[in-house]
Structures are given as structure tokens and as C-alpha cells.
């Protein structure tokens, strides 16, 4: 199996407090990996190590390795801006820029040097289509993104990530602020996107993990308790703690 990303013996500390313990996890190419576990178990912290978002927190230090296509992303010569272009992120709450729908999408490609108006138009349309949003917004591209519904805003954020042509998309509870219909649309979108991208998703909703992911990793107290094919995790998990969590006996 081909792995897009691999974590090997990863430990992470907030100051003197250890938050992740010896995590080794493979992320197969063009698959969806769900990270589940109770609050504070380290799943979001782990997700952020995959595109070095934790670098923004001063007290964080890590040891161990994370590879993207076999290259260590924590190597000193890593171009972090380029890394985050390749490994994009969608957050818990939709966070569109306070500008037009069009400008939200065009912003990233412009930062990465795309100036040609026609090309930008193409990128905007392609990204919005990929995020299943084009038909809803094509007639109001110049409207402010702030006037969109929460579900539309989150798909806009996904489109914004897609516009810079990433290879991996990290999603940190992308549906937790959305209504059930919008949630289903995002889930449907994830199923579509995995044909072209590799996706790692943190979710508090176990059923969402069951519905959308190919692999599921269960975190508890900073440790990776179990990871396996989602079908196996939800029908016959190897570890009692995983079973107790997914069947709602604790957490």
C-alpha cells in the first residue's frame, strides 16, 4: 500500500506536559483516515503536526518523524508555506475571509503567484465545483462570503483549500458547527474528494467516522490505542477501550 503521510514514533510536548506518546500512523494515499477519541485525547494536536500548525504555538516541541511522500516535514530545510499548500486544512468553524466569494477562492492562488485573470476564473470555478458549491453561488460570486449559510461557508473553506491544489486535506471537526443536511453534504463531498486527495479528519461524531472514513484511528490520553480499517474498528475492534468508546460506554 502507498502511504501519503507517515508518523513514526511521534512525541509532542506542550512545555513540560506530554500530549502525544509515541504515535506511529500511516495515512494511505487517496483514502480517508478518521481520528476519533474523547476531548483532550490528542487527535487535533496530532492532526496539526501533519502540516506543522503546532509551530505557531511557542511552547510546543516534538520528537519523532512525520513524512510526506517519504520526506521528513520537520527537516530544517522544509518550506513551511509550500508544505501547507500541499497539506491544506479545514477548521472546525467556517472561517471565510471578509471579502467576496470569488476573492476568498482567488486569494490563495494569487499568493502563490497566479495573476492571469482567465486562469484565476478557471481556478475559482473548478474549486467551487469540486466543493459542490458552484451551482449555489455562480450568480453571486461578488457577494460577500459572510452572507452565506454555515454549510456553504464551510464548503467555501474547502474550495479555498482546493484552489491551491493540495495533496492532503486535514479536516478538524469540519461539521461540528453545521446542521445535519450541511453535514451530509460535507460527508458526500469527502467521499468525492478522496478520489483526488488524501484526507485526514478529526471528528467527535463516531458515526461520521464510520460513514466517511476508510481507516479509523482511536486516540486516548495522547496515545494511539488502535487503528485499522473502519469496517473492522466498527464491527470487531481489537482493543476493549476502543469498543467501549465507540459503543458509548465512556467518553
Amino acid at each position: 500500500m502507498q502511504y501519503k503521510m507517515q508518523a513514526k514514533n511521534l512525541n509532542l510536548y506542550y512545555g513540560s506536559k506530554q500530549a502525544l506518546y509515541n504515535i506511529s500512523l500511516n495515512v494511505p494515499t487517496n483514502k480517508v483516515v478518521a481520528l476519533i477519541g474523547p476531548s483532550g485525547c490528542g487527535k487535533s494536536t496530532f492532526l496539526k503536526t501533519l502540516n506543522r500548525m503546532n509551530d505557531l504555538i511557542e511552547s510546543v516541541h516534538i520528537d519523532g518523524d512525520i513524512f510526506l511522500d517519504g520526506n521528513d516535514i520537520y527537516a530544517p530545510d522544509t518550506d513551511i508555506v509550500y508544505l501547507r499548500k500541499r497539506v491544506g486544512m479545514v477548521f472546525q468553524r467556517p472561517n471565510p475571509f471578509p471579502m467576496s466569494i470569488y476573492e476568498n477562492i482567488a486569494y490563495g492562488p494569487r499568493v502563490h503567484g497566479l495573476k492571469n485573470k482567465n486562469k484565476l476564473n478557471e481556478v475559482v470555478e473548478k474549486s467551487l465545483r469540486s466543493a459542490a458549491l458552484w451551482d449555489e453561488v455562480k450568480d453571486r460570486l461578488t457577494d460577500s462570503a459572510m452572507g452565506m449559510s454555515g454549510g456553504q461557508q464551510q464548503r467555501l473553506c474547502i474550495a479555498r483549500v482546493l484552489a491551491v491544489e493540495p495533496e492532503v486535506i486535514l479536516m478538524d471537526e469540519p461539521c461540528s458547527a453545521l446542521d445535519p443536511i450541511s453535514t451530509m453534504k460535507i460527508e458526500e463531498l469527502v467521499a468525492e474528494l478522496k478520489k483526488n486527495y488524501t484526507i485526514v479528519m478529526v471528528t467527535h461524531n463516531m458515526q461520521q467516522a464510520a460513514r466517511v472514513s476508510d481507516y479509523t484511528a482511536f486516540f486516548l490520553n495522547g496515545k494511539l490505542v488502535e487503528h485499522d480499517i473502519t469496517d473492522v474498528i466498527f464491527t470487531n475492534p481489537a482493543d476493549k477501550q476502543t469498543e467501549d468508546y465507540i459503543s458509548g460506554r465512556f467518553g
Binding site: D135, E188, T235
Partner: protein
């Protein structure tokens, strides 16, 4: 918000389970038909084929059950979807039992020393009745046809009456050489009719959420 179809993969998985039920139904019906044909024509080769093909039906049962278990675990089916899953479990079990009875009838043929004498027997009519009940119940399932399902339930009385007539015939027979085979075969056919009736009752439940036993609402 436009009407976009959501949960595409889930809907496809549900449809696949239903297709597999129909596939299993056709396999069970074919097995029953061939087992009777083999018996009536004393065709041991065909009987052996029926016995071999039982593995296909058993394999379909496992596939359907596994798919249902996965969908329950991963997709939380509700309402009609939940009834698709619940009835798939039940219908596939009934179809597997029909397959087993076809196997049993084929085995009787396979071990027979000489051909059955079916002259003036109701066993052929019982077989036709049972097989048409399987056919109708699967058609009712495939087309969500509650009326046809109800016809199957009614037809079960006919199967029971033919079974009773067959038993009377057997008890009046002078030759007792093949009596156990006659009894077992007619019993298997009557049971096939019962399983087809169960399937029809599950079709009614699937489409209306009403529990029916022998055309009576419970």
C-alpha cells in the same frame, strides 16, 4: 438549498443488498425447480447439480448478512432503510432454507433406486404451487408489490391443502417402498411454501411497516 442526493454510497450499498436478495431468490427458485424436475424425471445428474449449487446460495447468505451488519454499524439506517436491513436478514434466511429443502429433495433423487411413480399424485401440483409461491414472493420483493405478496399468503392455504391431499394419497398406497421419500418430499415442498409465505409477509412489512401473519394483521 437545492435537492442534492446525499449519502450516495450508502444508498448504493442498500440497493446492492436488495439486488443480492433477488439474486439469491432466483438461485433458490432455480434450485427448487431443478430438484423437482430431477425427481420427476429421475435425473441423478441434475440432482447432483442442485446439491452442488447449494454452496452458491449459502455464500450469498453470508454476503448479505455481512453487508447488513456493516451498514448497521456504519450508517445507522432508519425507517424504510432499517426495514430493508431487517427484512434482508429474515428473507435471506428463508431463501437459504428453501435452498436446503431443494438440496434435500435432490438428495432423495440422488439416492433413489428406481423412479418415483407420480401417476395420479398431487405432489406435482404441490411442487408447482410451492415454486410459483417462491417466484411470486421474489417478484413482490423486487417490485415492492404488496398485492402480489398478499396473493402469496393466500396461496399458502392451497399449498397446505395439496400437502394434506398428498399425505392422504401416501397413506392409501399399497406399495410402501418409497413411502418415506414421498412423505419427506411433500413435507419439504410444504415447508418451501411456508418460507415463500414468510418472505411475502416480510415484503408487506418492508413496504407498509405492518406485521402480517397469514394475511391477518397482528
Amino acid at each position: 438549498m437545492e435537492n442534492q442526493v446525499t449519502r450516495k454510497a450508502y444508498i448504493e450499498d442498500l440497493a446492492r443488498i436488495q439486488e443480492k436478495i433477488v439474486e439469491m431468490g432466483i438461485a433458490a427458485e432455480t434450485a427448487a425447480k431443478n430438484s423437482i424436475k430431477a425427481l420427476l424425471t429421475f435425473d441423478k445428474k441434475l440432482a447432483a447439480q442442485v446439491m452442488e449449487s447449494d454452496d452458491i446460495i449459502d455464500k450469498l447468505l453470508i454476503e448479505i448478512e455481512d453487508s447488513c451488519i456493516l451498514l448497521i454499524a456504519k450508517q445507522q439506517p432508519i425507517a424504510h432503510d432499517l426495514r430493508v436491513i431487517a427484512t434482508s436478514f429474515k428473507i435471506s434466511t428463508d431463501l437459504e432454507r428453501i435452498g436446503d429443502h431443494a438440496f434435500d429433495i435432490a438428495k432423495i433423487t440422488y439416492n433413489l433406486k428406481k423412479a418415483f411413480d407420480f401417476q395420479d399424485s398431487h405432489i406435482k401440483a404441490l411442487a408447482d404451487c410451492a415454486i410459483s409461491m417462491i417466484n411470486m414472493s421474489i417478484k413482490a420483493y423486487k417490485n415492492a408489490d404488496v398485492n402480489l405478496a398478499e396473493k402469496v399468503c393466500i396461496e399458502d392455504d392451497n399449498a397446505d391443502s395439496l400437502f394434506a391431499k398428498t399425505l392422504t394419497e401416501i397413506s392409501n398406497q399399497t406399495s410402501i417402498n418409497t413411502m418415506p421419500e414421498f412423505v419427506f418430499t411433500s413435507r419439504y415442498l410444504e415447508r418451501i411454501g411456508d418460507h415463500a409465505t414468510n418472505i411475502a409477509e416480510w415484503v408487506i412489512y418492508l413496504e407498509t411497516a405492518e406485521r402480517i401473519r397469514k394475511t391477518k394483521k397482528i
